[in-house]
């Protein structure tokens, strides 16, 4: 028999079913959690990023020039000991974007840019009956629909071909105002300009911030509400590779001299949170692996102690030290592989269970829709190597002890 060690190992696994089940369970619980926690968190984060990125431009040219932000290094010395609030006020000023067409001409040839659209956005009050809500109204052009993927989120009506008296609102806002398609609502801008607008579309992005606090109108209508004549408050840009947003933003900034932000800057908090989550996940995984390794090691130490006599018998028949090690380590590796697949299945079931739980409870903090949870492939692969590595590491010491037993001592044990 070429690999008698495996023959013995498998027989031991079968004969010592209790220990085998304990090891497999330890590994499968570890693997399930190693996969489940990051899969849930990263699905949440990925979903949040996707919704955020698809519902806002990748790059935005803004009319607010935050001089404090852009020149803070320059002013750092002057700001020393100053009241920051005051400094902020002094250094922040606004510039109107008067000729959006000219700016678009300046940047339209940048290779990464796919679409450019000006917008007029500001705070308004939406009033319907006794209900009054503060909502961000965004005046858009048809080009805007190439930048924000809002059409896929339309649950009723339309967002294309908005006339000057049309408005599109989110599902949550519609519910709160108790309005539906065709109903009229009153919008009042920051300078007191009021308009009566007809609801022609209702969307549901799944993002609370959008579905409750965002509305879309025709660009001209937005300009009227905000009382900015033909100016725009910003220009949205969509690019081919969203992860090149920083580079493209920098190029647009250079060409226009205006204040330009990327989606990464606009969503810095979410991205920072994601990175913090990743660190926490890594730490939790480390703890899980350590705990699984400890239980596997203790089970193997017990197993080796219980098998001392048999190790002696095998050695008296000529089994080499390395063969004794292979007998014990191959048990650990085999049980870990079984444990991995059980753990993978467990993770899948836990993800499904968690998803059902969320669906039954309705909403989450950031989102009004439950994200599509899926097993994170990278962590599933990592968990496989974790389980193998852990089992090898955990069984090395007991296997080495077994191999080093002197035959006469083992027989007399």
């Amino acid at each position: 028999m070429r690999f008698y060690e495996l023959f013995i190992a498998f027989r031991y696994i079968k004969a010592n079913l209790k220990q085998s089940i304990i090891i497999t369970t330890a590994v499968s619980i570890g693997v399930a959690i190693i996969i489940w926690i990051p899969s849930i968190n990263l699905s949440f984060m990925e979903d949040l990023i996707n919704r955020t990125v698809s519902s806002a431009p990748n790059i935005t040219i803004k009319r607010i020039i935050d001089t404090f932000e852009t020149n803070k290094e320059l002013f750092a010395d002057k700001l020393k000991g100053e009241n920051l609030l005051l400094t902020d006020q002094v250094l922040t000023r606004k510039r109107k974007i008067k000729s959006s067409r000219k700016i678009i001409e300046q940047i339209k040839n940048i290779e990464q840019i796919e679409a450019i659209a000006p917008y007029a956005e500001g705070q308004t009050f939406i009033i319907r009956g006794g209900e009054e809500r503060g909502v961000t109204v965004r005046g858009i052009t048809p080009e805007e629909l190439k930048i924000i993927d809002i059409e896929k989120d339309m649950v009723k009506g339309r967002i294309r071909n908005l006339s000057i008296n049309d408005i599109v609102i989110g599902q949550t806002l519609a519910n709160k105002l108790k309005v539906d398609l065709g109903k009229r609502i009153k919008a009042t801008g920051p300078t007191g300009v009021s308009k009566s607008l007809k609801v022609v579309g209702i969307f549901n992005t799944g993002l609370r911030a959008k579905d409750e606090y965002q509305a879309y109108v025709n660009l001209r209508s937005g300009q009227q509400l905000l009382n900015i004549r033909t100016d725009v408050s910003g220009i949205g840009i969509k690019i081919k590779d969203i992860y090149k947003a920083e580079e493209v933003a920098s190029e647009v900034r250079t060409k226009t001299g205006l204040y330009v932000t990327s989606w990464m800057q606009d969503n810095k908090q979410i991205l920072d949170q994601l990175n913090r989550f990743k660190l926490i996940i890594l730490f939790i995984n480390f703890l899980i692996v350590s705990s699984a390794a400890t239980s596997i090691t203790s089970v193997f130490i017990m197993l080796v102690a219980a098998k001392s006599k048999e190790i002696g018998i095998l050695k008296s028949m000529g089994a080499e030290n390395k063969s004794i090690m292979v007998i014990f380590m191959s048990q650990a590796v085999f049980l870990s592989v079984i444990g991995y697949f059980i753990g993978l299945l467990g993770a899948k079931l836990m993800i499904m269970g968690y998803s059902n739980l969320l669906e039954s409870s309705g909403e989450t903090m950031f989102s009004t829709q439950v994200p599509e949870f899926k097993i994170n492939t990278a962590y599933a692969v990592l968990a496989f190597f974790y389980s193998i590595f852990t089992s090898i590491l955990a069984s090395i010491l007991p296997s080495y002890q077994a191999a080093k037993l002197r035959p006469v001592e083992a027989i007399n044990a």
Partner: protein, 226 residues
């Protein structure tokens, strides 16, 4: 191989078990055993018989002295060399049969061949033949826990003979057997000894069995007295 070829020789072998009160288990043992001899080792309990067997079987190390197998000094052999030698040249029959409980009678007998990484149909046939000779022709697939002490001892004997070793060390091989089976086993040993020129070194308390041996080695307090 000539019949009077020396199989193993011991020169001034000492074995001391360390501790608060060291135990001198073997004292200046000098011994030569020829290939094909049938030897009985006798002596009172605790006299050093089992220690001598462990040392001769390369299961234990010596404190001082030299042990030669087929003219080769073994003290410098590493664990791997000793393991290979045990597998090829030595068969053990322990006092408490020491079988592997998870394996059937046939698998226990085949185990030395498994370890030598050679198992084929003819070896399985041979293992079955040996089991049949020791009276277990109908117990091939039975595990030790379902057999009596005597039956287990017979499996241990079959296992020791499986790899056709040069020497078989047997510690009280017939102690757990009835007289008839004991005689059968002795006759089997003798038959193999004569046919295969296999050396047998049997530790026993049974005077009757010892007297049938070619040579009796008597140990008292770690020394050979006869």
């Amino acid at each position: 191989m000539p019949e009077d070829e020396i199989l193993l020789s011991l020169e001034n072998i000492n074995k001391v078990y360390p501790g608060a009160q060291p135990v001198h288990a073997l004292i200046d043992i000098n011994l030569t055993i020829k290939k094909g001899e049938f030897i009985a080792v006798v002596g009172p309990s605790g006299s050093g018989k089992s220690t001598l067997m462990n040392v001769l079987g390369l299961l234990d190390t010596v404190t001082s002295g030299e042990l030669y197998y087929l003219g080769k000094e073994t003290s410098k052999w590493d664990e791997k060399q000793k393991a290979v030698f045990r597998n090829r040249e030595i068969g053990f029959i322990f006092q408490a049969h020491l079988l592997l409980p998870e394996f059937t009678a046939l698998e226990n007998v085949l185990m030395p061949a498994f370890i030598a990484r050679r198992v084929n149909h003819s070896l399985e046939k041979k293992a079955k033949e040996i089991l049949t000779i020791v009276g277990l022709g109908d117990k091939f697939y039975v595990k030790p826990k379902n057999l009596s002490g005597g039956q287990n001892q017979r499996i241990a004997i079959a296992r020791a003979l499986m790899n056709q070793p040069s020497v078989v060390f047997a510690d009280e091989p017939t102690g757990a057997l009835d007289q008839k089976t004991g005689n059968d086993i002795y006759n089997l040993f003798r038959k193999i000894n004569a046919e295969e020129n296999m050396t047998f070194i049997i530790v026993t308390h049974e005077r009757g069995l010892a007297q049938k041996a070619d040579r009796i080695i008597e140990i008292v307090d770690g020394q050979i007295v006869k």
